[in-house]
């Protein structure tokens, strides 16, 4: 049996910028703001960091290109820096790589930073650079998940009203969060009447394109107390990758993501979780589209396959529910600067476990889960975090 990372890594500092249309700040400005906030939170000087990992999905105009983007943003030179890109699981995978390096004993203190500046790009939405030049022409990010949602509807008889409830919930949570991209409530009727983007997704079923950065400082758990008592421990980590072109796989049923199932099984094994819904107190999951969140409930084992619509319908994932999901507002409301998102989710769980989440605070938050899902549901990363 391979070892577990449980209780070997501590998060001692976390920082996050305001997310949104940050027209007046650059990629480096955002990265510096998040990283220096994390340094301050950890009560360390930048030089204390021995190694760093940067998560950026899509470099543009040099921003996010290789690890030099982090070195220049922080003026942090001469250290081992690595850029990670793994679709929308970029941020969590950057964290995972840093955690593995510290767990190996080679480094004591490391920085994980994620940043994306989508509003600086010349095109709307998220470009799929590096894909086949024409084979998938016509396929957009919402389209990828809409293919799955339509099949899920066909198989389980669900419809758009269940999706709308996810949007209403996440907008409600985001409205309580001063750093969220959108701080406004929406009604179910508004969601259902919004223009269609890719059937069955309307505008309010889709996360926005957002600018933002987030950072955390980690260290060996046995050193954590040196930096204060406010640390959070890594309980489990899982990453799983499936096909990046699942549409050619005749065995793919389109109603769930095997990557999430495998990544969560691994994370649960390390954390010793047998009953996710009973043991986990809150979760930040990848709601790139409303249907994805419903699918995640099932793939993460919060409810059986096909019953995710009941999980949202019965209010179980609401702030007041038995397993609040996306108390931050989620990608839907907090925003989704791709490489930043996973690190931002860790920031949210750390904030919640510290009891510092203000109006959106989940009561008795002891064990939290972070979940990223990248590409066409092909890259999933699950991180379980706990308070001591």
């Amino acid at each position: 049996m391979p070892e577990s990372i449980k209780d070997k890594i501590a998060i001692i500092g976390a920082g996050c910028t305001k997310f949104g249309d940050i027209f007046d700040q650059s990629y480096e400005d955002l990265l510096a703001e998040a990283a220096f906030a994390a340094f301050a939170d950890a009560r360390i000087e930048p030089d204390r960091v021995e190694a760093a990992w940067l998560g950026t999905f899509s470099p543009y105009a040099g921003n996010g290109k290789a690890s030099v983007s982090l070195a220049d943003a922080l003026r942090l030179y001469g250290k081992p820096l690595t850029r990670v890109e793994n679709y929308c699981a970029t941020g969590t995978d950057a964290f995972r790589n840093a955690a593995m390096a510290v767990a190996s004993g080679v480094y004591d203190v490391a920085l994980v930073a994620g940043a994306e500046k989508l509003k600086d790009r010349p095109v709307r939405g998220i470009a799929w650079e590096g894909g086949h030049p024409y084979q998938h022409d016509g396929l957009t990010a919402p389209g990828v998940f809409a293919l799955a949602a339509n099949r899920y509807f066909y198989r389980y008889g669900a419809d758009r009203t269940a999706l709308a409830k996810v949007s209403v919930k996440n907008h409600h949570n985001g409205a309580l969060n001063p750093k969220a991209h959108f701080q406004m409530e929406v009604s179910e009727e508004q969601v259902l009447k919004a223009p269609i983007v890719a059937w069955p997704f309307g505008l309010f079923d889709c996360c926005p394109t957002t600018d933002g950065a987030a950072a955390v400082v980690i260290c060996r758990a046995d050193m954590a107390r040196q930096f204060g008592a406010n640390y959070v421990l890594v309980k489990g980590l899982g990453l799983a990758v499936t096909s990046g072109r699942p549409w050619y796989d005749a065995a793919y049923d389109y109603v769930g993501f095997a990557a999430t199932r495998a990544a969560s099984e691994e994370a649960y094994r390390m954390a010793g979780i047998r009953n996710p819904v009973g043991e986990i107190d809150l979760a930040e999951v990848h709601d790139c589209f409303t249907w994805t969140e419903i699918c995640n409930y099932e793939d993460l084992g919060f409810c059986p396959k096909g019953e995710g619509t009941h999980f949202i319908g019965e209010g179980r994932s609401a702030l007041s529910g038995d397993l609040p999901v996306n108390p931050s507002g989620g990608l839907k409301s907090f925003g989704h600067p791709i490489g930043a998102s996973g690190v931002r989710m860790i920031y949210e769980i750390v904030t919640q476990l510290r009891g510092a989440a203000g109006a959106r605070q989940v009561r008795d938050a002891e064990l939290g889960l972070v979940h990223n899902l990248g590409g066409p549901g092909a890259v999933a990363c699950v991180i379980v975090l706990g308070r001591s």
């Binding site: 396929l139 919402p142 223009p195």
Partner: protein
Amino acid sequence: MIGITNYAVYVPRRRIRRETIAGAWGAKASPGCKAVTNFDEDSLTMAQAAVWPLAQPGVEWLAFASTTAPYWQRSAASLIAAACDLPAEIATADFSGSLRCGTSALRAAFDGVGAGSVRSAVVTAADCRDGAPESAEELLFGDAAAAVALGREQLLAELVASVSRSDDFPDEWRRDTDIHVRSFASKYSLTRGYTENIVAAGRAVLAKAGVKGEQVARAALVSPDGRAHLAVAKALGIAAAAVEDVRVTDIGITGAAMPLFLLAQALDRARPDDLVLAISYGDGADAFLFRALADGGRLRPDDGATEFPRYPLYRKLRDWWRAAGGLTEISNVLLRREEHQNVRLHGSLCPQCGLLQFPITKVCGSCHQHGALTETPLARRGHLFTFTSDFLYDAPVQPTVMAVVDLDGGGRFLCQMTDVDQAAVEIGMPVELVLRRMREGAGDHYYYWKCRPAPGGANHA
């Protein structure tokens, strides 16, 4: 004995009523409608669709004829041959320059088959000429393709005689720089150009065969206007009932495609022993006389057609390609290496578990066998597994329907769905794969497969 072994036609599924066009210009409408390409079709894709049912093993020569080829330089015939998965060891040829280019190719094919240099040949002709806005041609011109297969065995019709005439008559032309046809449409052009040439060619071919016009059972006579061919038939002594409907009221004047289209139509209506006359016109005339050896009845009725409700959308789609872009430069190394996969539609068959899969792979997606997978053609029909109607993708008509298709016999495919009203899309519907023009990029056209509803199939999820 040489003759025709098969034939097929392709008519795009979009229509526009002439009153819709005329109404946009405040002009007087002529009757009927015309068939027009969807925005992702051109002469090459229409011809490919016409050739596909004729693309049998043993074809040794493939000719493409059009006055609206998508390339000045690049063989549409070679691309069509690949898309029809014909072997590299065939001759291909591209004909152009005249509305007679389809029959020029037919004549060359008969010469080749007659001389024994090729055993079997396929000739396709397609046109999608764009009449200038507010012109008579805009009302008349329609888009279509036809293909005929020629050989020495299993003939549907034998070639009895053929003649050609050349006449550099100045009635209709396009310079190398012109987008739209220029013409001297006049009674002079009609009588001295069209009528004189066709009648002379008709008389010559009948005389060569030693038959009279009244013996002709089916006459496929091209027409510039839907009327003039009736006078030609009369002059040749051909009974009015024998004259093929030139389809001007439901398809339009289809340019280089018209002679082969009407020939296919005439053969389809012929009975054994019927004499079938086909005459083309354009800078001269080509005439062919056939004797039918079998009943026709091979052409299936037109698929359901969609009408453009308003003129502006028609005009926008007609002009779209001139400004289209979107794809970045594509590596010719990649294009070449993937030809068998992306153009010939081959997948990989696993010898261990029997899984047929796309794209071509060295490692089986199911049992992970490595190295022994064999390249295998995929079926071009299947059923819709799932889909979405996407309004985000930048297309000339929204939404873009994206489809996941389970192909008959194995392989799952992802592609756009075309020629469809999004409201009619449902999981399980039968679809067929069709070659279409994708977005433009870096100064080139790119062709790939889309799917569209397949008539006559049953739903299967």
